[in-house]
Amino acid sequence: METARTTSLSSVSAEPEAMVEIRGMNKWYGDFQVLTDINLTVQSRERIVICGPSGSGKSTLIRCINRLEEHQEGDIIVDGIPLTQDVKNIDQIRSEVGMCFQQFNLFPHLTVMENCLLAPMSVRNTSRKEALTLAQRYLEKVKIPDQADKYPSQLSGGQQQRVAIARALCMQPRIMLFDEPTSALDPEMINEVLETMEELAREGMTMICVTHEMGFARKVADRVVFMDQGQIVESAAPETFFNNSKNDRTRKFLQQVLQH
């Protein structure tokens, strides 16, 4: 299933290409520069965790990747497609990039199943029958197949976030973006979401996660990117990042995050 898709696609472009490539990207809100000279390359199957103090531009950065936010300077190339004003490119990128949000953002007037069917049927023109099979499979993967006919408001936060993951997966994306997926959850629900994300990582999904869950970063990430004041301060393997960072700002941040 997943692997079949990846192989068929990788046979088209033989050499392992960067999934996301960001070069010299700058972004302003009015006069205020939120992102400064961002350079980031994410390879296929790589798992990146982005962390940093609040207001450092982490969310803004990943929201630029699927054009929820517009960048003013620099290049963003997603799966070989340059992100420009061209609506066709934006649509194509969005259909390849799945995203989960802090507030889940499920559609409250639709059942869990309908939430999952909407995009495949309208964007990919999948038949209803196929879309149902697909949705069933991903709802099973996130371990809530029996809630398919409920409305989002009838589910717990953790369940809602897992539905949101399933909904994104139904588009069979090549990349998943997570914007603080556990920040709005009660502590006892954080693990069920993290476990789902870990499983996704094990299966080889390319992932970019903004999160404060340092345990998850240590366990799953190939690379941890630390941001501060709109800049990428450090980008390193978790080992190096957590134990041997040479950067003062990183060390200070880690002290604050890890001392409890």
């Binding site: 953002n105 559609f107 059942t111 069917l117 964007v123 909904r167």
Partner: protein, 226 residues
């Protein structure tokens, strides 16, 4: 003092025609007004200035000109430009575009009340603008839009009485007519007031039933996916 309702009963044909015309005008103008409201709302929230500005001008004009003046302009001024509309047609058009402006503002308020996250999620899934407005955003508006929308519709029913000024044979015109024939102003206008009250109350009940249907079923409304 004695009341002579017999005079009204004798002229019931005029009254019935009046009720019919008031209902006809209202129940054609309200749906058209809602349709105009949806279209103008979409223009009003557009990021493109060329689309947004005409909508703003339209809404501001409608909100700041008395309906009666609009009716007079269309009925008495347009013929100078070779456009001659019947009273009834003038009524449909004026009430629709008048209500449409208010509906547009109510719908815009609704769209703005839907959380930004809903737009983010729809875009991130790759849904097209027209599609997600129709299937994701607008279905969530009902709760926000129903009560103020009902008010606009009720106002439209009552304001249709202004059309009596251009001799449209609706309810208020019928009252003038009957009063002219029988000189029973107390009975006539009291009767008309009660009839307006009944029409509006029934309409209100109807929308309340509709709303509770939408609320409970809500969400199970299947307009989302067929």
């Amino acid at each position: 003092m004695t009341f002579d309702f017999g005079a009204i009963w004798e002229n019931r044909d005029i009254l019935i025609e009046g009720i019919f015309n008031t209902l006809l005008i209202s129940f054609i103008a309200i749906p058209i007004g809602i349709f105009i409201g949806v279209v103008v709302c979409l223009l009003r929230i557009s990021k493109r200035r060329v689309l947004r500005w005409p909508a703003i001008v339209y809404i501001e004009l409608m909100r700041n000109i008395p309906l009666l003046i609009l009716i007079f302009m269309m009925f008495y001024a347009l013929p100078f430009y070779g456009i001659r509309l019947s009273g009834l047609t003038t009524g449909f058009i004026c009430l629709s575009i008048y209500g449409g402006a208010y509906f547009a503002e109510v719908f815009r308020g609704g769209v703005e009340a839907v959380s930004k996250g809903q737009f983010d999620a729809a875009k991130a899934l790759g849904l097209k603008y027209g599609f997600y407005m129709r299937r994701v955003i607008f279905p969530q508006l009902y709760t926000y839009v129903f009560p103020p929308g009902t008010n606009i519709a009720l106002t439209m029913i009552k304001e249709s009485s202004l059309l009596s000024m251009i001799t449209v044979a609706e309810l208020t015109y019928a009252a003038h007519d009957i009063n002219g024939r029988t000189f029973t102003p107390v009975e006539t206008f009291a009767t008309i007031a009660v009839i307006y009250w009944v029409i509006c109350t029934l309409f209100l009940k109807l929308t309340q039933m509709l709303q509770s249907h939408v609320d409970t079923d809500d969400i199970s409304n299947s307009m989302a996916l067929r």
